[in-house]
Symmetry: C2
Subunit: 147 residues, 2 copies
DNA sequence: TACACTGTTTATAACGATTATAATGTAAGA
DNA sequence: TCTTACATTATAATCGTTATAAACAGTGTA
């Protein structure tokens, strides 16, 4: 099924006049197959075997291209570097404050909140972002001292 | 009423053994009275008239102290620098994608989502974060071209 | 009052993620 | 083939944040 996603993404790019380069292909493929939510550097290091000459700037440039095309979402948490998430269906993230692990979960929708916010503030709402923070099972197990 | 908030904050700090310096007093005071959500640099520049010798590091250090004491929340959006928000009551933020303005709004609660997330993922939930993005009234008025 | 102790601020350097720049490469169209 | 426009590379620059070391208070004790 991820092949379909990749094909759809490539088609979407092509239809907006963006050239499909080997690097772009590889970055998209990596993002679709990766279960975690990689940073730009993760992607760079993962692909430097197949593209020994690829520059970090290429990763950033293309992530921006993908973001503008709506294929990829940029997530900024507390930690210094952004994480990137291939847009599939709507889902939310729950993040472990100990080890940083990010797990997806699905929840019907928060349209109601968007409506209320729009009504109260007069904004035109585009989208929202929700994250839940806590401690994952692995870390709950091995934690006795607080940082 | 914000004097009460300031006093409460100072008491909270003192009770945890943190010394109240003039700089800390001023940073807290500025954060309580500011309606927007300042960056560290905003605070630094706002106070450099009264504290010409103050260092940026002092601002960062103390924001961290306040954050650890639970007085201040750090918000990371897409733009490069963190914003800091004095913790009053629970509220959420709606952010303008054009001008960056941040407006508070209140919403009963999202406990339900937390419970579901906890159930599905096995995490112990601490808190969550919700932001809504859109366009504020001012920017809706003067917008015809998309970026 | 003098003295040591501890936490605070300052000044500055270092770090690291991201972006800008210029040069080179590469695909597509006339 | 020539030209044009977009992509990539390599590298430097930018900028927010953090680390470090030295100077500076406050506080408690003799």
């Amino acid at each position: 099924m991820s092949e379909v996603q990749l094909k759809d993404a490539l088609d979407a790019l092509k239809s907006t006049g963006v050239r499909i380069t080997p690097q772009r292909h590889a970055i998209l493929e990596y993002m679709i197959h990766s279960t975690n939510h990689p940073t730009a550097d993760d992607i760079y290091r993962a692909l430097e075997k197949t593209f020994p000459n690829m520059s970090v700037a290429t990763v950033y440039n293309n992530l921006r291209v993908f973001r503008k095309a709506g294929l990829v979402k940029e997530l900024t948490y507390g930690d210094s570097s952004s994480r990137f998430d291939f847009v599939t269906n709507d889902h939310y993230h729950i993040i472990c404050n100990d080890c940083g692990k990010i797990v997806d979960f699905h929840y019907p929708g928060l349209d109601e909140v968007e409506h209320l916010a729009s009504h109260v503030t007069g904004f035109e709402v585009d989208y929202h972002r929700l994250e839940i923070y806590g401690t994952c099972q692995d870390c709950v197990g091995k934690t006795a001292k607080a940082q």
